[in-house]
Symmetry: C2
Subunit: 287 residues, 2 copies
């Protein structure tokens, strides 16, 4: 059995030297950007990369630029030892663990103004979030120019933002979305699930229940977005989830709200369970 | 004598195929982005590229995103036949001539928010100019990933914007500035000089005269920015140049205005000669 060696890099120079070696070996390179606190959702991205790429790099960086001033940057979960162990077990080739100073040195002031698909939904409730996401993803794609980068469908709008950014800015990388990984009861895996109390954890399943109900109604012939939205809100309220940022249906490509589901669409929820904001979504395939 | 063949590309696919071939041949690649209407200033960039790179690509694209609504996009000079001939004569390997649809297709909506060095001077008078410049340069660097890209010192603030953008976004390219090329009387070469009437052409030399005077005073020991600024304005006014956007001294790296010239500095002028807005600058090296 060949010895698997996972390299750890923390500087731009080390990252580039890894890519150079992989390119020399004509290896297909896969990149999985994360903020750590890894769960099965992240690991499914790594496994997808492992299946189709000869060289897999995972980045762990809690990106301050994508957190709002009132958000949970300082208490965002950090589980670096467990993260490294899990990635080593999966035979990852490179783990890139840069410092804040490495990625945002003094004088840093260039950002990516994300595409229009960033404006609704998360864009309304987290005004500079996607600016920070687009900026860090572009930086990582420049530092570790991979052939393909993997993102979870759980952050559906983020995936569309990155897909459009990469197209608009001519970044030579393929962007691949991987399915949402769920707990046995349906709750979408998220690093923020750790924040939930046992009672909140039970109630949190209402998000995936609501989306499943919307999908069921759509499959049964309902095509009115507002009808599906009402069903979803009702299920959330029954679970005492009352702070709902949105529970709606949108065009799956543009994320524009639609009245009738006459094209590929997505049902999206963002809601607070206790003090924890969770998001989830499900695709509604139009015939 | 080996036959020199200049390729012309107009699509992303053709551009990438050129770069791939150059990389296979392990050639050092130089990129010279232009808006056409080439003059000796541009050609000096191409010669600089030719000297240090085995493969030289020149782009010609009049970038709408960097023109303001009241600016001269539609009447910006286009001299494509002469441009191609001049570039062929210099043995350029690739000329990239994309259409607007190729670079800004329907749905395009991602921009680069340029670094802080874009804010003063041109940033005040042409509010979205550097957003457009930074965006197109990043796109071109992604389409034609060169080892080194060449820019004229004539657009000094643009050079600093691009240098900082490339650093902030981790774009793996070296940015090289080349000296301003001047007419025999001192006027900096510019595609916009074509707009000048004979009388305006004569008066336009006041910009370079003013900068030369500022440099002379600095070399003679003057260190007050406002004193140099007054000298410059006086020379401009004597040439009946009264619409002066700025004629000032700034920190050469940050472009922040300074009172005392106690660090590397630059004297910068933007002014209208008739209806034509011209810019020019000169470095004031602090000891």
């Amino acid at each position: 059995m060949p010895e698997e060696i996972t390299k750890i890099a923390s500087t731009e120079r080390e990252a580039r030297s890894f890519i150079r070696a992989a390119r020399e070996g004509r290896k297909r390179i896969g990149l999985v950007p994360t903020m750590g606190a890894l769960h099965e959702g992240h690991l499914s991205l790594v496994r997808a990369a492992r299946r189709t790429c000869e060289s897999v790099a995972v980045t762990i960086f809690v990106n301050p630029a994508q957190f709002g001033q009132t958000e949970d940057l300082s208490k965002y979960p950090r589980t670096i030892d467990e993260d490294l162990e899990a990635l080593r077990d999966l035979g990852v080739d490179l783990i890139f663990l840069p410092s804040q100073d490495e990625l945002y040195p003094n004088g840093f002031s260039t950002y990516v103004l994300p595409p229009a698909v960033a404006d609704p939904f998360e864009g309304q409730f987290r005004p500079e979030h996607f600016r920070g996401v687009a900026t860090i993803v572009l930086k990582l794609l420049n530092l570790l120019p991979a052939d393909v980068a993997f993102f979870g469908q759980k952050d559906f709008q983020q995936f569309q933002v990155i897909r459009q950014m990469v197209k608009d800015l001519n970044v030579p990388v393929e962007i691949q979305a991987c399915p949402i990984v769920r707990e046995p009861d349906g709750l979408a895996m998220s690093s923020r699930n750790r924040y939930l109390t046992p009672d909140e954890r039970e109630r949190a399943v209402a998000l995936s229940d609501a989306l499943a109900e919307a999908k069921r109604c759509f499959d049964d012939g309902a095509t009115s977005s507002s009808t599906l939205a009402e069903y979803m809100s009702e299920i959330l309220r029954k679970a005492k989830i009352t702070k709902i940022d949105y529970a709606e249906v949108a065009d799956a490509n543009t994320l524009q709200r639609i009245d009738q589901i006459d094209r590929p669409a997505v049902a999206l929820i963002a809601a607070y369970v206790g003090r924890t904001r969770l998001i989830d979504n499900t695709l509604l395939a139009a015939e």
